[in-house]
Each structure stands twice: as C-alpha cells, then as structure tokens.
C-alpha cells in the first residue's frame, strides 16, 4: 500500500548542515570489499533510511559509524569535525546511539538496570537505586511503556525489550540514533508506537538512521533514503520522490519480475480445479489448547493446501504452530493426522508423523551455526535414523548438493559453516533440512523475516511449488501481502483465539486487516469452514 501523500517531505533540510557526513568510506575484509567509496550523510531532525539487500553493506556502514570497524579510507565528520572512533564507547560518548537488530541487553537484569546501565546515578559511593528506578520509569513512560522498572527484562516480550533498548538510547541524549531493524519483531500497534516516538525524537532534532526490510514502514517514516548495493553507493533520494518500484530496482539492480510473476500464478491455480471433491484432510485439530498460551482452537489443513495464519504479534500464531509441530505439548484437545489421533510429546514424534516445524527464531532454534551446511541439511534426517545408522557420506553429499542447487543456496561449498551464510541462505538451509525428511505438513513460522527481497521471492515460490506437489503448508508471516499471496485459506487469530477462517478468493490486505482488527465481523466477509 504505497502512501503517496507523505507529509514529512524535507524541503528545508537540505539547507541545514548535516550532523553526520561520511565521505568516500572504504572497508576491506579478507577477500571482500565490504564498502567501496560510500558517501552517507544525516541531517538533524530527519529520518534517513539505509536500504539494500543482505550483504549490501548496511551493517558495515553502521559499524563504521559506531566505531565497531575501523575504516580503511575516507572521512567521518560529526557536527563538522573530523572524528575517528576506535571503539563503540567513543562513538556513544560523542552522541551516536545504536539499537541493534538483535536486542543487545542483559536479560537477567531489571528493566531499570538495563536502561541505566553504565550511567547509574550514584549516591554516597553506591548506586542510588531509587533515583535509577525513577529515571528509568520516566524514560519508559515517555515511550508509553508502562512496565515495572524492577521486573526482569527476560520476563518481557521481545517487542518490549526492543522498546527498552530504545529507551536506553534515548536516555543517553543522543544526537544520532541508529535503529537497525527495530521493527522486525514488533506488531502493527507497537510499530505505530515506535514511530510516534521516532517522530517526537525528530522534533527534538535527533538525526535518525532507520533500517528495515518493510518497505511500508520505510515509506511511512523516512524523509531520505540511501541505497547501497554490493558495498557501493547507488544513490541518495528524498523518499517522496522515489517510487517504490524504483527503490526495489535500485536495491536489487535487476528487473523485479519474480514477485509479480508469483502473484499471478497464485490466482491462476486458485481458480483451477480447486474445489474438486477429492480433497483429503491431512491434519485436523479439535480444541487444541495450552494453558497460558492459546485458547482451544480448531484448525484443518488439507493435502496440498497452504493455510495462512494471520494475526498480530502475540495473537497465538506461533503458539498454535508450536503445538502442532510437537514443540510444546497440548494441555487439551485432539490432533488427528490422516484420521488417526496423535499424541505428540516432542518434535521428534511430529517429524516421525511427517510434520515439520520450522521455527521463527532462526538463530536460536533453527540453525546449528558451527556445523557445516551439509550437516545442517541432514540433521533432522540423521536424527530420525539414529546415530548408529549414519547416512553414507556419498548420500550426504548428494543431498547437500541437490538442495544447494534446488534452493539456490549461496555458499562456497557444503563444508562451509552455516554461521558464515547470510540470513536468507541460512533460512534456505533450514528449509532444506525440513524438506530432507519428506514431510507431509510443513509449518513455516516467519520463514521470510529479516531476509532480502530476492531470497524472499525464492522462498515464496518454493512454498508454492511444494503445495502443488501435494505438500500441506501452514504458513505464518507478519506480512499480510505474503500470506494473501500464498495461502488458499487464511485462519485469523486474535488474542490467542481463532476469529475467522477465510477462503482466500481475492481477499485484500484491507479485508484481512479488518478481520484482524474487528474479528467478530467475520460473518460479513466470506467465511468458509474449509470445503
């Protein structure tokens, strides 16, 4: 949904002096030129989005600015003066604050301690705990975050932790605030809240560097865009003057046909012989529930069907998927696969019954980063066979090679450690792992989160062709367009309950949003209890 009417067009900003000016920055890593003569500038009171695919050099540029990497050549000027940061602490002291994609906080400390870490108010040689809590509370309330500053950070959701990280950055009185993928784990409301905070920071004259994979958000919040590709500068643009399609082309440097192709294909097959009589139900769940996690829910997935799970963050999407995937245990209800009642206690049993769950948390629950691509691909298959029946090395190589080719995994070879791959390629390795066990139902929880546009399109295509081959897919994504594009049917969850079960015959994002928001209105939209 392009919002062409952007009220934030910076007309006068060009005349003010930039607070950050990076000129001709180059950084070389062994074998790779990560940044090649890149210019980048930031103006006070402006949100500047840094755009580019994975590996374009966004993170490297940020790390150069924050003193994590030292630059090989070029100059960084802060407020007109040339600066050299040897470490992040110096950059922070100079007023550059960063909130990283992965929350960089200490989960075992309290919220207040995290907000004030390193700047604790002191009294009589010790820490003034009361002042600390008060100040933390003030900052948090400035963000409309009403949580107990004395609670442990770990006890809060990722979204709240993200806001705490921002609160910390704000309290430092930064001149420059860098937000690297701050919204990737936030739901719509939380994003709106974050944007409200960003706008108020803008008014205070803070220069904000914003990185996000969500184009909608980029267009909504940013005044200026800089696009990088393969370590080089593509250009700097004023957001309202750059069409989305041009932006995407600038980012990937190729005609963007992949996504459009897909869109038409979905509807083509949709209409085909979809409603033929011999649809076979693969999975049906009746009243499955888990205390404190999800209310009793019915859901059904037919063979070869893609069922989308839509809903806000925390609506129970992941919780439901984890129950079906055997990752969490049912407290009640019944799970039937091919008409037979199953009692799943572990993911292992789910895999035995040809149900594979691919976690939303790629790094913590997905990849085994110090193992090779090959080992990661064969892991689930090997675990299923047991350690004493190793897959012959030749077969391992064949499996790895065929998935690397089929999924277009970018890796030097099958022996490369997965940790050295980009996010999108790690995700593909995971997909390969699950496909290797030949599942009948594949549960994909946010498979495209935090990966670049190209890889995203490939994964979407893959889901599509898998379903055409009779595999059932339960597809979860925070991006509604994606859910709509891929799903035959969409189950909408809200507040850990199912609010609608919609047949996807030309639903629009707005339709879906309405259901997610209203829920009860599902009778007005065409609902279907899955033919």
């Amino acid at each position: 949904m392009p919002d062409s009417a952007n009220p934030l067009a910076p007309t006068e900003a060009v005349t003010t002096a930039p607070v950050v000016e990076m000129t001709d920055i180059s950084i070389t890593f062994p074998g790779v030129k990560a940044l090649d003569g890149v210019d980048f500038r930031m103006f006070p009171g402006e949100v500047h989005s840094l755009m580019g695919e994975n590996g374009a050099g966004k993170s490297t540029l940020i790390k150069a600015l924050t003193g994590v990497y030292s630059i090989d050549s070029g100059e960084i000027r802060l407020g007109g003066e040339s600066v050299v940061f040897i470490n992040p602490a110096q950059a922070q002291a100079a007023g550059i604050s960063t909130v990283y994609q992965e929350v960089n906080l200490l989960g075992n400390l309290t919220v207040a301690e995290n907000v004030m870490l390193g700047r604790e108010p002191r009294r009589l040689g010790g820490i003034d705990w009361r002042a600390m809590r008060r100040r933390a509370k003030d900052v948090l309330e400035g963000l409309h975050l009403h949580i107990d500053p004395n609670s442990l950070l770990n006890s809060h959701s990722l979204a709240v932790q993200q806001l705490v990280a921002i609160a910390r950055a704000i309290d430092i009185q930064a001149k420059v605030l860098i937000l690297d993928e701050p919204t990737s784990s936030l739901d719509t409301e939380e994003v709106a809240e974050l944007f409200r905070v960003i706008r108020s920071l803008k008014e205070r004259g803070v220069a904000i560097l914003f990185v996000s994979h969500f184009l909608d958000q980029v267009y909504e919040i940013s005044d200026r865009l800089t696009v990088l590709r393969n370590g080089q500068l593509v250009g700097e643009y004023l957001t309202p003057e750059l069409l989305r399609i041009d932006l995407v082309q600038a980012m990937i440097g190729k005609e963007l046909t992949a996504l459009e192709d897909l869109g038409s294909r979905v509807h083509a097959t949709e209409k085909d012989e979809e409603a033929d009589a011999k649809t076979v139900t693969f999975l049906s769940a009746k009243g499955v529930t888990r205390k404190g996690s999800i209310a009793p829910i019915d859901i059904q997935v037919d063979a070869g069907e893609v069922v989308g799970l839509a809903g806000l963050l925390g609506s129970g999407r992941t919780e439901l998927a984890r129950l079906i995937g055997g990752v969490d245990r049912l407290d009640g209800g019944q799970l039937k696969v091919n008409g037979k009642v199953l009692k799943l206690r572990t993911p292992r049993q789910a895999i035995k019954h040809q149900i594979a769950y691919s976690s939303e948390n790629r790094r913590a629950e997905g990849i085994v980063d110090d193992l090779s691509v090959r080992d990661n691909i064969i892991l689930a298959l090997q675990a299923d066979r047991g350690w004493f029946r190793p897959i012959p090395r030749k077969r391992q190589d064949e499996l790895a090679a065929s998935y690397i080719e089929a999924l277009n995994i970018k890796t030097p070879n099958a022996d490369a450690l997965v940790r050295n791959l980009s996010g999108g390629n790690q995700q593909k390795v995971l997909l390969a792992r699950w496909l290797a066990v030949a599942p009948r139902l594949l549960i994909l929880d946010e498979p495209t989160r935090g990966i670049d546009v190209g890889a995203k399109a490939e994964i979407q295509k893959l889901v599509y062709s898998l379903a055409e081959n009779g595999l059932s897919v339960l597809f979860i994504s925070a991006e509604l367009e994606e859910v709509l594009r891929l799903s035959n049917r969409i189950v909408v969850l809200r507040d850990r309950r199912k609010v609608a079960d919609l047949v996807n015959d030309g639903l629009s994002v707005d339709d879906l949003l309405a259901v997610i928001a209203e829920g009860a209105a599902d009778s007005e939209i065409k609902t279907g209890a899955a033919s």
Partner: protein, 354 residues
C-alpha cells in the same frame, strides 16, 4: 606462501604443538639422552619419551571421554573419584579371591570395576539429562561421594595387591610397547571411529552448539547424554585400573586425585571449547602429551617440588593466552594490515535470485 604461514599459525593446534616442541627441547638440553629410545634385554622399549607415553596414558584415556562430555556443554568432575572406585573394586575382588595370580580372577575384577563405573556414569547422565541438573553440580556429587564409596569398598585400608596379571595392566609391555600406551591408543582409535564413522560425533556437536535447535530437529539429547557420561565414566575406570596397577595398591584418597583437572586441561589445550560444540580428539591427544611432558620437565629441570604447581600454571597460562580469541584477532589484524594490491575481489554476480 605468506598465507600458508598464517594458516599454520592460526591453526588451533599450532601453539600447543609449539609448546610440546619447546618442552621437549628444554629436556634435551638438560638431559642429553632424552630423545634416545633403547631396547632392553627383554625386548621392551625404554626411554624418556616412552615414559611420557606410558605415564600420560591415564590422563589421555580420561581426556578422551571428557572431550565428548565437554562437547555437549557438560563437564565431568567425578572422573578422579571414579578412578579410585574402579581401582578399589578391582583390588578388593582380587584380594578376596583365593588365587590373585589367576588371569580369570583379574579379568572378573576388571570387568566388575568397569561395570560399576558404567552404572555410576549413567547416574551422572541421569542427573544431567533427566533431572536437568547443571553438569558441574551433578558430577560434583559423585566427585565428593565417590571417594567415600571407594573408602567403603576398601574398608578404609590401602589395599596392596600382589598379582602378576594385574600388575601387567599398568607396567607390562606388549611387543615392547607399554601396555598402558597400547590401551590409550586403542581407546583413542575406538572413540574416534565410534564418533566419526557414525553420526554420533555430529549429533553430539549439534546438541553442544544449539540444544534447542537440535531438539526441534528431532535429536534425542537425553540418550546422547547418557551415552557420553557413561562412556566417560567407563574410560575413567580404565584409567583408574591402570593407575592402581602401577602403584600395586588401591588408595581411596589419592588414586586419580586432581586427574579431572589435567583431563579438562588437556581437552581445552586441544582446542575444544568449554562452551561445547566442535571437538577434536587429535587436539586432546596433543593436550594430554603437553601436560605429561610438562610434568616430566619439572623433574628433569630440577624445579623444586614446592614450585611445581606454579610452573605448571605458568605454562598453561601461556598456551591458553596464545590460543585466545583476542590473540587471534590481533594476529588477524597484523596479517591484514599491509594490503597493497587486491582490488578485483568482488562477487561476479549480485546476490539476487530470479
């Protein structure tokens, strides 16, 4: 050429191997005949290097088991006590039998001792995998209780055994090679085969690197933990029997005292991280050799016994510092600093899929 140089320096076994060579060099300077290996009248090999291989065998055997435990993010502190228990069990069976010199008696004694240790190892495995107790605490239980158990078996005595077949285990020779060394070599080879020829090694590493991802991929960590702690205890018992045989006595208080620390040290020197994950049995072999050579060096150089521990600590600090990530990062920086000509190293194609 330069690249090869840095590759060698950057290898995780480089500094332990350097240390091994340096230690041997120190010995050669102090004891001119250090490197010589002679064949004595009975056709057995003799020499300082052979001593190192024989005396280092128990540490190596335990370190092999410890490597696997550490790879799962665990640790086994009870191996020293298990040495004492196994030795005590074997000795008490031999002593109560009518014929201590009978090979059958010794075989039974050894097998019972091994079986007992295996059971105790499974106990460790149960505490860690079923009850979810932290490995350091779980094995601390047996570490402290174990010497008590050994004491109960020996009834508080130091059991001295006069049994030729039993004595052979610690100080015998087979084709001129010390029996203990042969056992250590066989253990190393068998465990390497067991873990690398099956999928055991990969699954152990997987659990050590990312337990939750492994669980979701269907890996049964519980079974692996039972196996690994069981194996570690079994190998500790093998080492304990060799130690006891060497001393011809089971001493509940002193057999295998602090050997768990040497074993852990050997594993760490060998480049296996205490955080679990990738492990190297070759590294453990090098680590165990460094430690044993170090102990030998203490004697040949004539360092007073009071200072032994300090000397040992100094060497260990040196090696671990050289292996540390900070040192490696510094090395990496030094290496990449002079970068005169290299411009065309760019992926030929943008990473985009069609």
């Amino acid at each position: 050429m330069k690249d090869i140089f840095f590759k060698v320096i950057g290898h995780r076994l480089f500094w332990p191997l350097v240390m091994l060579v340096v230690l041997i060099a120190i010995n050669v300077i102090n004891v001119p005949g250090f490197l010589s290996i002679t064949v004595n009248a009975e056709g057995n090999l003799f020499g300082s290097l052979i001593d190192i291989l024989r005396n280092g065998a128990p540490t190596l055997i335990i370190a092999v088991g410890m490597t696997l435990v550490i790879a799962t993010r665990g640790i086994d502190l009870s191996v020293g006590s298990l040495c004492a228990i196994a030795g005590a069990m074997a000795c008490s069976i031999i002593l109560t039998s009518p014929d201590p010199n009978n090979v059958g008696t010794v075989a039974v004694a050894v097998l019972v001792a091994l079986a007992l240790a295996l059971v105790l190892g499974l106990w460790n495995g149960m505490l860690v995998s079923v009850l979810g107790i932290q490995p350091i605490i779980a094995t601390l239980i047996l570490m402290t209780a174990g010497r008590g158990i050994a004491m109960l078996i020996t009834e508080g005595q130091i059991l001295t055994v006069q049994s030729t077949p039993f004595k052979f285990l610690g100080s015998g020779f087979i084709y001129g090679v010390p029996f203990a060394t042969v056992v250590a070599a066989v253990v190393l080879a068998l465990v390497a085969l067991l873990t690398r020829r099956t999928a055991l090694g990969m699954l152990i590493e997987s659990v050590g690197i990312n337990p939750e991802a492994s669980r979701q991929a269907g890996v049964r960590a519980r079974g692996l933990l039972f196996l690994v702690y069981g194996l570690c205890a079994l190998l500790a018992a093998v080492a304990g029997i060799i130690l006891t045989s060497n001393q011809t006595a089971a001493d509940a208080n002193n057999t295998g005292l602090f050997i768990e620390l040497d074993a852990i040290l050997a594993v760490v020197l060998g480049g296996t991280s205490l955080n679990g994950g990738r492990y190297s049995l070759t590294g453990t072999l090098v680590g165990a050799l460094v430690i044993q050579t170090l102990i030998t060096t203490v004697y040949t150089v004539g360092i007073p016994p009071i200072a032994t521990m300090v000397f040992k600590a100094a060497v260990v600090v040196a090696v671990t510092l050289l292996q540390s990530p900070t040192t490696n990062a510094a090395l990496e920086r030094w290496r990449s600093r002079p970068k005169p000509t290299k411009t065309s190293s760019r992926p030929s194609e943008p990473v985009v899929a069609r």
